[in-house]
Assembly symmetry: C6
Homo-oligomer: 274 residues x 6
């Protein structure tokens, strides 16, 4: 199969290679899982690069990528498809999961734990050795081609007893764990994405790194690489560095005025150190 250049349901595909800096064995492990037709779970915090990694792997494996952002009201029908009334007839319309199975694509269920239980259970037969998708409403079963691959994301920091995947679901995936990239990698990413010089990027990454050590001491979650890129973008458009950090890296993640203040002081000190 050659490069796929069309737009697909739930995602955008381009011919350009997505930028991704590998940190560990994640590429080899993903390729082994793809070769062995194993479903994959991407574990890690918000905004650490899970989605980008998957875009990169889809490009590398030359497979279409279908992304579905899961949420509480996502139903099986939203994933699998439904009958719609067209004029005087009812017509079946495939959902993104069915489309992905038919095309042998990678189907990415982002934050799958948010979905309703029925949505999660519908993927079970796709994740054991039978690898088929039952379309119960149509009374049909479709077999997944070898290139079809199911990937889910999962943020361990969010899970509660009430909202967690069941073991009978978890035990259907191999798991790749992600974290924020090392400082030099992250600097390179911020430099490229925001289009600023390395020096500014390095300073922002240094501030972000310091802030992440405060997680669980007042901050619910570490500042994401995405927010560092936002700060860099503001700097590029003429905003001064400390102001950019406050606007993009501090105020979005906490409402607590005292914590905001102390984060600003940490940032000011680090920027002064140079």
């Amino acid at each position: 199969m050659g490069a796929v250049v069309e737009w697909k349901i739930g995602d955008v595909w381009t011919q350009k290679e997505p930028f991704y800096l590998p940190v560990g064995e994640e590429i080899q492990l993903f390729e082994a899982a793809a070769a062995g037709r194993l479903p994959v779970m991407l574990k890690g915090p918000t905004g650490c690069g899970k989605t980008r990694f998957l875009e990169y792997m889809a490009y590398r494996l030359r497979r279409p990528l279908v992304t579905v952002a899961c949420h509480e009201d996502l139903t099986t029908a939203d994933l699998v498809g439904r009958y719609l009334l067209k004029g005087e007839e009812t017509v079946w319309v495939d959902g993104p999961l069915t489309t992905a199975v038919k095309r042998g694509a990678i189907c990415y269920l982002d934050e799958v734990v948010e979905a309703r239980k029925d949505t999660i259970v519908v993927i079970h037969p796709l994740t054991d050795d039978r690898r088929f998708l039952p379309l119960e409403k149509k009374g049909e079963v479709i077999k997944a081609p070898d290139t079809f691959m199911l990937v889910i994301s999962y943020n361990p920091g969010y899970q509660t007893i009430l909202k967690d995947l069941k073991q009978s679901t978890k035990q259907r995936f191999v798991a790749l764990e992600f974290d924020f990239p090392p400082a030099d990698y992250e600097t390179e990413i911020v430099r490229r994405e925001a289009g600023i010089n390395s020096d500014v990027a390095a300073k922002l990454v240094k501030v972000a790194g310091k802030m992440r050590t405060l997680k669980n001491r007042g901050l619910e979650e570490g500042v994401s690489t995405r927010l560092v890129i936002y700060a860099a973008t503001l700097v590029k458009h003429g905003i001064e560095m400390l102001e950019a950090i406050k606007t993009a890296m501090i105020k979005p993640i906490t409402d607590d005025q005292v914590i905001q203040k102390s984060l600003e002081e940490i940032a000011a000190t680090l920027l002064a150190e140079g």
Copy 2:
């Protein structure tokens, strides 16, 4: 793009420049975010001017503004669109978010935290570098033009553990923080909006300022600039000042008779000093 003079879904657009008095760097920061195509979160208490600021920025940037007041029952379909039965056919009707994306408008989701989770998740792909809106029901994806901008409002005073934005949503926005304007600014605003003289406006603003210091000591939230303008409007239509303050600035915000009494005394004293 020239000035937009039409009425739009969910909001009103006029050729007249909305009146807005800037307090800090908010205009520069918003313009940098617009230039860098970053989503923006407006944080601040009720009635401190967030909506007015946005109307002003939309006018200044010459972009259409689509406002959606979010609430508990707002569904993805309300935002994105749905199929409707027209005569014998089903016809797709764009929702306000889809309209805003197609026109490259500013889409303002007011009090977004009130919306259902699925509504909040549907904006995720619009807030990362992919900037597209999936229309899952249609099996389509639309790419946002550069002028499209997503803005949400968020009142930190309201959030509870049960009803808060997820970090994976928060970390997709740069945040501008708003508070009630300084006394002289607010006096000017009240004078203009209610059409009364500066002296009356200044007295009402002085009373409002004093009342706001009582927040968390019996008052759930400070009195908004809007209510000060209401009081001024009553005065303009012949109501005496203390009566106007009671009717527009005290009784709407608290049911507690004791607190009402003591606020009235504070107001009477300040007016007497006047």
Copy 3:
């Protein structure tokens, strides 16, 4: 605009001036709010005359009055309108709020706090200086004429943390506070409404007044003027006074046998004093 003599959605309009005895400044304040196009909140206990006051003001201002009794299942569509299937077509049918906006009427949302959150939020754009009503389902916006006025009622005795208006809603209204009328006023009201002599009316009002002092000491809420009129009506149709008080003023408001007994004794004593 002349007198409106038609029947309207959700309410009844007559050419006859409704009987209303003003107690304080409420008429002047309401007229100032109407002149300044401010939304009004009527605060006060059950059955103290809020609805009657509004009928009187509507007559006085010569504006149509549209009343909506709010409840838990009232949806935005119930207020704003919906598409209905008529034969082979879907036809839009305006709801009472839309009708009121189009006609420049007073729209009265009785016990608005009972409505669902979406219903409450839909009135926001009508209550700030934009004064428009978005018909999201139609993709239309209608601007309210100057005579349109939004009035809500609110009973402070009922509110709980779970069921209260948000500050961002409360701070959109000026508030008029109502209580049971003074004894001589209430006697006159009961005399007129039930068609009995002043003496009987005065005695019943005296009993009611005494009972109201017991609120919060066993009685959830004071006996309403309506129930006093009911008692007077029973007397007029041949029921003896104490029996009428028991049937119309005591048994409807409490199930507690001990409290019922002691209220009967209080009533018997007051009637004996008579």
Copy 4:
């Protein structure tokens, strides 16, 4: 209006006078309420004769009677009416409340507190001096004729904080209180209804009376007159008295084996006393 001999929605009407033995002033009070066009609330425990009283009054006043058994899922549409698809048209079908208003009937909402809040609120305009029923879906208002009367039943023993009528609803009714009839009255009722001799009836009533004194000491509610009639019916069809009491008056009201045993012993002792 003459005797009504047709079958009506939600109830059965016959030409025969229903059997009712008055206990207190209830007939005079009901007639005064009917004359004064006041809504009536019947308060009292399960099976003490509220429904029968109302059938009797309807016959006595020569008004049709429409009964609705309320429950948790009863909607406004169930009461008021709805549009139904008939062939290619939608046709409005009146609900029982609308039918009752149009015919000037007595509308009886049995156990109204069970209904959803919207159902309860819809009766408000019928219960004040406006006396009209808004058909919101049709955009119509119908005025109740003088003979229309609204009656609700209410069992004080059941109400909890979560499920009670609001004061703003309660204060719209005069209240008649019912209890189990005195022993000689109840004996006469049981004799007539079950068709047995007075001696058997008297014994069963004596046992029931004793059991009712045990309410709140293990028994949730006293045994109803209906169950006494059931026991008498079993006796009439050949079952021995103690067995009939166990089957009809003890086992239906409690699952507790110990309480069942002691009730049987009480019954055996009383029967032996003769």
Copy 5:
């Protein structure tokens, strides 16, 4: 009316007399209730023969039997009937309760407490002396013929405060109480139903009897006669006795390994005793 030989909604009817061994007065009591047109409640644990008793009584009384297994989502419409779209028309389709009323059948609502409240309330008018079924959606009322009989089942062991019948429902039924049959009766039942010899049946019944004494000491409910028949069936198909008891009488009713073990030892000991 002769023997009914057709298949009916919700149940199966045969010409063969169902096998039932009476334990007490239940047949006489049921016949008296049928003669007196009284509704009947069958109380007792799972699988003790309530359904079989009713099949026997239906055969004996020569009345059709309509059985409805109640559950949380059973609606009034499921019981009473609904309009269905057939081609271009809407056609009313009777539910099982309506069918039973029309045919003068016995209608059996199995585990009625599981049904939604509206379903339970709909039977009220059928259970007092009016004996009619309101079809509210059709605006019709149907009167039950004398042979119509309503029977419900009720398992006292299951009821909780949240899920119990209201007294106003309970007090509409005479109650027959069931328990597991005496050992010799149960042996005969097992022998007949599974087609094995009396010796095997007696041993299994002995084990079951011992296990039932352990109820509330670790076992939620006693082992049903049905499971004893299952064990006998396994023995008949070549499984050894202890294995059959483990598979059919122990593992289905408890997940606790310790309790399973001790039950197995009890069974082994009793079998060894012979």
Copy 6:
């Protein structure tokens, strides 16, 4: 009936004999249950081979197999069938349970406890001696042929008080209990399924065995055979053993970093031992 070679609703059927290694008496017990027409409950932890056992038995008994993965939103209609609009007609479409009954297939309801209560109750008449399926919506009853067999799965480790089968459901099944296979059996299974040599398989099984002993000491559930096969698959595609264990056997089942670490050390030690 010969071998069934078609694809069936909800499952895949092939002519090839599924690979299954029996551990105890499960095959004999299942055959006795099939001969005696008894419903079967398969009890056991996630991924221990229950589904595979059933595929094997279906092949062995030469009966079609219809599998339904149950979930919270599975309705009776999903199981039994529903009316669908086709062109201008409504057409009944059988659900998987109805299909299974009609064909005399084995119907497997996987994790039945997840289904809604109505779904569970609908199988009751199929699991007693009546063996019929009521199609209430059609007003039809279909009798199950002798080869029809109902099988459910049930994981005792998951059940909570809120989510458990009722005794009246449990007592309708004989129960077969499953656990992870003995080491030599599991090694053979892993070798075959992943296509690796016995030595690697044995090592992975040894690690899995050790990990399972840690259940309830930090691990919610033991690692399934499926995950061991996943690890073996990664090894086959070039991933080193410890990395494969971490990715497939450790990270999917726990988010706790400390437990992950100690499991890795256990695995490293066992692999070093050889």
